[in-house]
Amino acid sequence: MNEDVEVLKTVKIVFSSIICFFVCGALYFTSLITERQAALEEASRYNLQWSSSQAVIELVRLEKALAVTQVDKTPAALDEVRLRYDILMNRMSLLGGGEFLKFLQQDGELLATFQEAAGKIRGVAKLMPDIGDPAVAKQALETIEPLSRQFLSISAQANKYGGEQVALDQAVLMRQHWQFSAMVAGLIVCGIMLIMLLNWHNRLLGFTHARLEATTEKLAASRRQLDAALNNMSQGLSVFDGEGNLVLANRKFARMFGLNDDIGDKSPSFEELSRQVENVGDVSLVDILHRHGQRMTRQQPDYAYESLDDGRVFSITHRPMENGGSIATFLDVTARRRTEARIEYMATHDTLTGLPNRAQFRANAELAIGSRGGDENGPVIIMLDIDNFKTINDTMGLPVGDALLCAVSGRVKSCLPKNCIGARLGGDEFGILQTDAPQPASAVALVKELTVLLAEPLDLDGVPVKVRMSIGIAAANEKTTSADELIKNADLALNRAKLEGRATYRLFDPEMAKSANLRRQMEVDLREAIAADRFELHYQPIMNIRQGGVAACEALLRWNDPKRGMIPPMEFIPLAEEIGVIGEIGEMVLRKACIEAMAWSSDIKVSVNVSPLQFNSRDLMADVAGALAASGLSPHRLDLEITESVLLAHTEDVLETLHRLRAMGVKISMDDFGTGYSSLNYLRRFPFDKIKIDKSFVRDVDSSEDATVIVRAVTSIAGSLGMITTAEGIETLEQLERVRAGGCAEAQGYLFCRPLPAAMLRPMLDELALDSRAVA
């Protein structure tokens, strides 16, 4: 563009120059013409030769008149002489001045000749009075006669001078002609240049015009893009100028307020805009617009949320501009707000029951603890756990379990007063946060009420279920610093309730924390014991009470702790299962038992207890195979004892493992039969080799006829299914006799032998082989 401007400037300068040249040319032309005119005048003005030749003629006429007087003495002839003389005198005076004199003065000789002649003619004047006298006339004639020759010579000179003058004039004219021609040529060249310049200028203008059009088109395209961008914004956009007129508004803005799309093009004032919104637009937005008007008067960026009664929410930003106007965006965030609320609800609530979840419960507890007074009305956390929920879930299916959870949560909710918040903390665990009530009495009262309410049978899928819950209560005291601590305390109380028989509640006691600490210590020690191999196996013989002799020895695990002494498995196996080290311990037990059994008589089996959790890890097969291979023990001498809980979960996998073990030749026994569910279904699902009747039945056989009947029934069923039975916990001869009578093939108990370390077992085995008590 700058180049164009430069070029146009140059063109202008050239233009001006040419026009100046034209003006100068015209002036010069005028002067040339004037000069030429003058020259032409000069050329035609004076005819010297004519004047001088007239002088000759007039001289000759005077001579003739004088000559006439010689013969004609009439006055007319004399008058004629005087007239001719006067005419000649007139000529002489003409020649003696003006141009002719200038001509004469050019040549001194010529001037002298003329003056001499003039003098002679003047001399004739004094003869004129007596001219009638022929002698005088003769004298006059003689005086002027030679003069004609002189005048002729002057005339010839004049002729020559005139020719020269003409030549001179012609030269001047010729010079002027050339100047004229040059001038015309110059003007023609200038004209051509002017035309070329005009053409060039037009072309430049054409280019500029084309470029201007392109720029205009580009601007229009930009404008279209801008419009497209503005109209595709999700926000309504408005720009007001310093006077409060709406100078720009996108489609979204117009539609949001229920106005025509072209509202921005009309630049309405703020008042006009309000009026339109009120009359034809969305009336419910008028207040928002008015509040925005107030916002516009403040010269600082701002944003706000505006909520309408119909639930809509708008996000509005306002930014003042330098020129006094302002730019604002309006966004309908209703959907976003709803989603946010939904997300927040989902993040803080349990989807199944609609109760707050653990995170929300924890946050509420934190809040309650933070704002608690120093009195005994501090917040309380009650934790509830449905007893045997897992069993219900496993046996009746997940939908029933979920229905149970919903029913329980419904009942919990229904009996909660306003100062309580209920929550589902996960699984079958519920929590209640109670505030502003005298503690722990209020919590205990609430728990009792809940227990009564929940004890009413629920109808689950046609099955009436009585819900029992284990409950832990922990009240905040002045030392409580966090919700986590309070939740942990309630959890400890809950665990205590579970441990102490379930279906009950326990208040948190600092002693529980101590036992929890002890448990943690035990966990550390247990891990250490595994690393240091502080376990040993004791063995209790199982007697064949039909043929006599020792049928097998059950391996029983002992933890020999340096601080605590010998610890029985009941006290640490649950912990080992919980902290996930049961697999290692189980493998170790299998390995050691198999090696030890190799030292016994080849007809004595070794029984090893297997935890249900060992089935969860797929390594059990490998562990068994490894133990057998390492020891060289025959598979059929290994008897794995499992409890029915093994069959509760993951049944297909478990059954497959059991079948494979059995295919290897390993025996499988059902341990502790008679406790728990003792479902006969389990017996049908897997062909056990042996059933061990729990010692709780055996204990009663000598006093209760029922127990004897049950033993007999179990033995009978087992026999029918091709299984033998072992009676556990035989302590007296009478018990022995009864179980023998009941049909048990094997018996185990203190009557025969206590569990013994391996070293003490071997001599005992020889002794027992001859034991008369074992023989019928």
Binding site: E41, S44, R45, Q54, I57, E58, R61, L83, Y85, D86, I87, M89, N90, S93
Partner: protein, 87 residues
């Protein structure tokens, strides 16, 4: 000259002027009206002698009308006028 023409009752568009020396010149009559041409008889109160352009001299106003300064009008401005013939 206009008055002279009127007083002699001249009809025609030009006059043929003949001088004493037989010089002749044609003068259009319209010149007289147009330029105010005079027929001089006296100069400074004195009759002009033949020896000084007398007795009659047709005079154009050369000094007040510059366009007259040309050979055309110089030739019409005849002196020593002897005869005027209206044509």
């Amino acid at each position: 000259m206009t008055r002279l023409m009127a007083s002699v009752g001249a009809f025609g568009d030009r006059i043929l002027v003949t001088a004493l020396n037989d010089y002749t010149s044609e003068v259009p009559i319209e010149d007289f009206q147009k330029y105010g041409v005079i027929l001089a008889l006296k100069r400074n109160g004195q009759y002009m002698p033949v020896s000084d352009k007398g007795p009659l001299f047709i005079v154009y106003p050369f000094d007040s009308v510059p366009e007259l300064k040309s050979q055309k009008f110089y030739s019409r401005s005849a002196w020593q006028v002897a005869r005027m013939e209206v044509k």
